[in-house]
């Protein structure tokens, strides 16, 4: 198989896996139902894997296609906007930290997880004006950190173990 075709097929496969993980996450019972927005960010395992094994452009492509598709299937334009704000900030931070090479994949993943939430909240601050955002920011930064550690461990394992031709 030609190199370009193989890469395209792989990216399609990873996008599909990321979407399945996003769907699995919708099906899981909410971790803490009092606060909307708390989730593990399972698709981020794929994003971080593609970032480490293929590159920033590839990770951005997988992330963007996933967000568009998931929003079309389960969401609305507003969920896409929130998703994009979180995803873009998160990936930019992870790409930068990976390049700096100061942190392991766990640190990179934590920064990505927390900034995903922060991006969404910053957008919400433009859309809505409520003191509850301060409370969300505190809760989501803590849960984002814990989720980021978990995602980083999974992503690190995948980066080390998964092989292809």
């Amino acid at each position: 198989m030609k190199k370009g075709t193989q890469k395209l097929a792989l990216l399609g496969l990873f996008t599909a896996i990321a979407m399945v993980l996003a769907y699995v996450e919708v099906l899981l019972p909410p971790l803490f139902s009092a606060v909307p927005g708390i989730k593990l960010g399972l698709p981020n395992i794929i994003i971080i894997f593609v970032l480490y094994r293929m590159g920033v452009k590839e990770a951005a492509l997988v992330s963007l296609v996933r967000m568009v598709a998931v929003s079309l299937l389960f969401g609305n334009p507003m969920t896409f906007a929130y998703s994009l704000a979180g995803g873009a900030l998160s990936l930019a931070a992870m790409a930068l930290l990976r390049k700096l090479d100061f942190f392991s994949i766990i640190g990179v993943s934590v920064a990505g997880g927390v900034l995903h939430n922060v991006g969404q909240i910053l957008l919400a601050m433009f859309v809505l004006r409520t003191a509850e955002l301060g409370y969300y920011l505190i809760v989501l930064s803590i849960t984002g950190t814990i989720a980021g550690i978990f995602i980083g461990l999974c992503g690190g394992l995948a980066v080390k173990r998964v092989k292809w031709g």
């Binding site: 392991s104 919400a124 004006r129 409520t130 003191a131 301060g134």
Partner: protein, 139 residues
């Protein structure tokens, strides 16, 4: 296993240093965002609604800018009373039949998110804003 950039094998001495950096990053991230969150919370604006909840359920909603007196009667024979007064854009409990009297001693509330709680009567009075909802963060 050969060492690739960005991927640590257990033998890499780099790994210890990176894990220490990870911990510093995690600690720093937590401190910064908890502080920012607290700042947003502390500098929150005025509210315009007074919401009364009894036993976790919404019991009544009133404008903060229409002066009125509300008798919040709860309990078996509606024997338990909290007298809520809304006046000049502030809400407070004038008198209450609860044993501790903490709710009646509470200062008037007007900023969004502020609340007066009467534990014995399971009454929570909170100031909210009518034009905002919890953000709908889904994907």
């Amino acid at each position: 296993m050969e060492h690739e950039k960005g991927i640590d094998t257990p033998a890499t001495p780099n790994k210890k240093r990176k894990l220490r950096n990870d911990l510093i990053l995690i600690g720093g991230v937590l401190v910064i965002f908890v502080l920012i969150g607290l700042a947003i919370w502390l500098f929150r604006g005025e509210g315009d609604l007074v919401v009364v909840e009894v036993n976790g359920k919404t019991w009544g909603t009133y404008s903060l800018f229409v002066d009125r007196t509300v008798e919040i009667r709860t309990g078996e024979d509606e024997q338990e009373l909290n007298l809520l007064i809304i006046k000049d854009g502030k809400a407070y409990v004038e008198t209450a039949t609860c044993p501790d009297g903490i709710c009646a001693a509470h200062k008037p509330i007007s900023r969004q998110g502020e609340s007066i709680v009467c534990l014995p009567h399971k009454v929570v009075i909170t100031v909210k804003r009518s034009d905002t909802n919890a953000p709908d963060i889904v994907v």
